[in-house]
């Protein structure tokens, strides 16, 4: 027993000493590496910053595009950061540097590399550089069925690659990406819906016709995401279809999202469907969304129904009705003042006073 303990102590001491030494070595090596990198990057970094400040055709473009490989490696991370921060000619110059140094060609190759981390880095870079020739390959990554595999609680690396590809497609803004983006919401492990919705919004109004078609998808998640995108795009001509979903869709979540989208689309034809939803026996969440959307429409016809809704015993309905009246301008405020004048612990009066208080602070009165 004593011998075993002695051996164990020896082993523990050995490993502990090795761990302590390794920490010291890592620390020293890191310091050395940082100093060397800083020295190597100093001059190229100045050229890079001059390029970012100068614009296309500046002599710095040639200097950066032609700098030695080790100098470029030292400033490449800075160049990538700058790419996200500059606009206009400076951005185009930077993008040209990446192209002339062969970075774009390499990234396009890497996109088909097969190793998810390499592919993800390439997708990120091409998205930032705005290279639309990457769209087909990115669409393939988004549609990759392997992205639906999950290891226990951990999101699979292919699913993460899909997320990067979705973001890149959004940045590239090519409407041909609608179908793969929408299809990524199906399957066993759907892509994150808010990322997909954001990418769809970034595709712009040209994507609206394809999105309208996607509203027929059988999956509620797809319909919700597309409704979100259509609402934020302000897609003209979508009101009727969205109103139909608010009325008919079998999923309560889709109906709720449709109410919000109708409010964002903001046309007079949305008034009736929203009033119907607000006064229905649907869930409180849906009714509250409909009431909030009524405030966004700016229609005076909503004042009377909202005045009735502010007396609702349900906090969310009454609160949203008061907020909606506040957003309806002077006529809404007059109604709120009348309600606020009511004495005692009347719920409608309290909600009205709260809304008027906020209106006063924000200068809406």
């Amino acid at each position: 027993m004593i011998q075993l303990a002695s051996v164990t102590i020896g082993v523990l001491l050995g490993i502990s000493t090795a761990a302590a030494l390794l920490i010291a070595v890592l620390r020293a090596a890191r310091g050395l590496r940082q100093r060397r990198r800083a020295e190597r990057a100093a001059a190229p970094r100045r050229a890079l910053l001059a390029l970012a400040a100068g614009g296309e055709g500046a002599p710095e473009l040639e200097a950066v595009a032609g700098m030695p490989d080790d100098a470029w490696r030292a400033v490449e991370p800075t160049a990538l950061d700058l790419l996200a921060k500059v606009r206009g000619e400076a951005r185009e110059s930077l993008a040209e540097v990446f192209a002339r140094r062969g970075v774009v060609a390499r990234a396009l190759r890497d996109l088909r590399d097969g190793r998810p981390i390499t592919q993800a880095r390439a997708a990120e870079l091409l998205g930032r550089l705005g290279r639309r020739e990457a769209v087909p390959a990115l669409c393939s990554l988004v549609a990759d069925p392997r992205a639906h595999s999950r290891r226990g609680t951990v999101t699979g690396v292919r699913a993460e690659l899909r997320v990067v590809a979705i973001r890149a497609l959004g940045r590239l803004g090519d409407p041909s990406a609608v179908a793969p983006l929408v299809s990524s919401l199906g399957g066993a492990d759907p892509a994150p819906s808010q990322l997909v919705a954001h990418a769809l919004i970034q595709l712009g109004p040209d994507a609206a016709p394809a999105l309208m078609t996607a509203l027929n998808a059988p999956q509620p998640l797809v319909r919700m995401t597309v409704l979100d995108a259509l609402g934020r795009l302000g897609a003209a001509g979508a009101e009727q279809r969205v109103a139909a979903l608010l009325h008919d869709d079998p999923s309560p979540s889709v109906r709720e999202t449709a109410a919000t989208a109708l409010g964002r689309l903001g046309t007079g034809s949305a008034l009736r469907p929203l009033l119907d939803a607000a006064n229905s026996d649907e869930s409180l969440a849906l009714r509250a969304s409909a009431v909030r959307a009524l405030g966004q429409l700016g229609a005076r016809e909503a004042i009377a129904p909202l005045t009735a809704l502010i007396a609702s015993p349900h906090y969310r309905i009454a609160h949203e009705a008061a907020g909606a009246l506040r957003r309806l301008g002077s006529a809404g405020h007059a109604t709120l003042r009348e309600l606020a004048g009511r004495s005692g612990t009347d719920g409608a009066g309290a909600h009205a006073r709260e809304a008027l208080g906020m209106a006063e602070l924000t200068g809406q009165r």
């Binding site: 620390r27 609680t153 959004g170 808010q194 954001h198 919004i201 602070l361 924000t362």
Partner: protein, 493 residues
């Protein structure tokens, strides 16, 4: 007589062996967690170049978040803390400060700094609140994202419940008023919600030690080791237990604790489970266990995750007296949670929470001080009655503590290779020495305090609330400690 002595010898030897085996098992379990954390860190590091933080910030669909800040007598630091939280890098957020009946100038300072005015507000009653809400205040401009609630003192859990009721947004983060968040911390803990919106229900951020760091404008601008060894040891302890331990548990899907200093939750679920429990001193951990219980019972597919970086910085006790009080409370909280949710322990209905995480907490967290103290008592007794000889005894102690030190050193190695927050070589040396010093008195003292905490919980003593150690963070100099008393129901944690 001889046979009695023989039985005693056998018992002592068996107890020695049992304690040794226990030490081996507990440290091996930590080692497994550290290894799991290491794999997670490697994964995390490889993904940084394409983590999409910029995109999340620009995405109008990133869910808005309400930052709840319960405050009790936080006068010296509250303004800097609120400024820092309002300046967090996040698309849409509101900061809800709940002044829980402070007796100092907490509210006056806020009113003066943010030009607060009282507004009428109808308060929803989604979760129960004990302390009466006296008034609600917002900046006179009406455009700010700040809401300050004044209420009667009811304790931290009650203050958080008031904040939950007032929070407008679907995600709620709870942050201690004396905590400092890295600018991107909120966006980072919100990322799991964006990446896996259908399953993630809560996420926790890592808490690091602010003592010794240089704070400017509510931000940690230089990370340094504290000056006192007591604080340095806690830095090492936090790295091992909080950073690596919780990352490991998160990897296993068994995360049981999200620190009250920094966690993010879905508001609808907080309402669904009835908010924070006021009958439990460890309300932060209790909430997570209750969420697991609720969601497992309903067979819902969900995840509770831990985010290792960026971080929340918090002060740790600088004196043994305050540390003792803290550890008594922590262990008391753990005991209460285990007692309250004992039906989950070993129950297959609760999956890896019931079969793995809770048994681990029972065996290796709750019982650890008992076994440690037992071990410390047995060795001298065994030596006295010559049940073991000195040769074996010192080896026994060295093996037991040596393995623990090795685990800590591996944790430090991971910190240095992945995060390397401490840049000065002398800080790294201090950490290495602290890893050794932890075994010389610190562990034993904390074991005694933890035992006292468990005993108080088992006997049902009323919790003792009290002294807060705070210093305003808005200073250029490294964090040092001042101490002041408070009589309200808030704790040092």
């Amino acid at each position: 007589m001889t046979s009695l002595a023989g039985v005693l010898h056998t018992l002592l030897r068996s107890a020695d062996t049992a304690v040794l085996v226990y030490f081996f098992l507990i440290n091996t379990s930590y080692l497994i967690l550290v290894v799991l954390a290491a794999t997670e860190f490697v994964r995390h590091r490889r993904r940084i170049p394409f983590d999409g933080a910029e995109e999340a910030y620009r995405n109008p669909l990133t869910p808005p978040a309400s930052v709840l800040v319960p405050a009790y007598n936080e006068g010296p630091g509250v303004v800097a803390a609120v400024h820092a939280m309002l300046n967090l890098w996040y698309p849409t957020l509101e900061v809800v400060v709940v002044d829980d009946g402070s007796t100092d100038d907490t509210f006056e300072r806020l009113r003066a700094e943010f030009d607060l005015v009282e507004v009428p507000r109808v308060l929803p009653t989604d979760v129960p609140v004990t302390g009466r809400v006296r008034s609600v205040h917002v900046p006179r401009s009406g455009t700010g994202a700040l809401v300050v609630v004044r209420k009667d003192n009811g304790g931290k859990a009650d203050a958080l419940n008031a904040g939950i009721n007032l929070a407008r947004y679907p995600l709620i983060t709870m942050v201690d008023a004396d905590s400092i968040l890295d600018p991107r911390a909120l966006l980072s803990v919100a990322k799991p919600f964006a990446d896996d919106p259908l399953r993630v229900v809560a996420s926790g951020g890592v808490v690091r030690v602010a003592n010794g760091c240089t704070i400017l404008g509510g931000r940690v601008v230089e990370v340094r080791m504290p000056r006192r060894w007591l604080e340095r040891i806690q830095v090492v302890e936090y790295l091992r237990s909080f950073l690596l331990g919780r990352t490991g548990w998160s990897r296993l899907g068994g995360l049981l604790i999200i620190s009250g200093a920094f966690g993010l939750f879905r508001r609808d679920l907080l309402v669904e489970v009835g908010g924070m429990a006021e009958d439990c001193i460890g309300e932060d951990a209790e909430l997570v266990v209750r969420l697991h219980r609720h969601l497992r019972a309903q067979r819902r597919d969900y995840r509770i995750v831990f985010v290792a970086e960026p971080v929340c910085w918090s002060e740790v006790p600088a004196t043994a007296r305050v540390l003792g009080r803290q550890r008594r409370r922590w262990h008391r909280g753990l005991t209460e949670i285990l007692r309250k949710h004992r039906g989950m322990i070993g129950n297959p209905r609760y999956g890896r929470i019931g079969l793995l995480a809770l048994p681990h907490f029972l065996l290796f967290e709750f019982l650890a001080p008992v076994v440690e103290i037992l071990g410390l008592l047995i060795v001298p007794v065994a030596l006295t009655v010559e049940s073991v000889d000195l040769e074996f005894a010192w080896r026994f102690i060295l093996v037991a503590y040596g393995y623990g030190t090795l685990v800590t050193l591996i944790a430090l190695l991971l910190e240095e290779s992945v995060f390397h927050r401490y840049n000065r070589p002398r800080d790294v040396v201090s950490a290495l020495i602290a890893a050794l010093l932890e075994n010389l008195g610190y562990r034993q003292l904390t074991a005694v305090w933890r035992l006292q905490g468990a005993w108080a919980a088992l006997r049902g003593h009323r919790p003792v609330w009290g002294v807060m150690t705070r210093q305003g963070f808005d200073s250029r100099s490294p964090v040092a400690h001042s101490q002041r008393s408070s009589g309200g129901r808030h704790r040092v944690r």
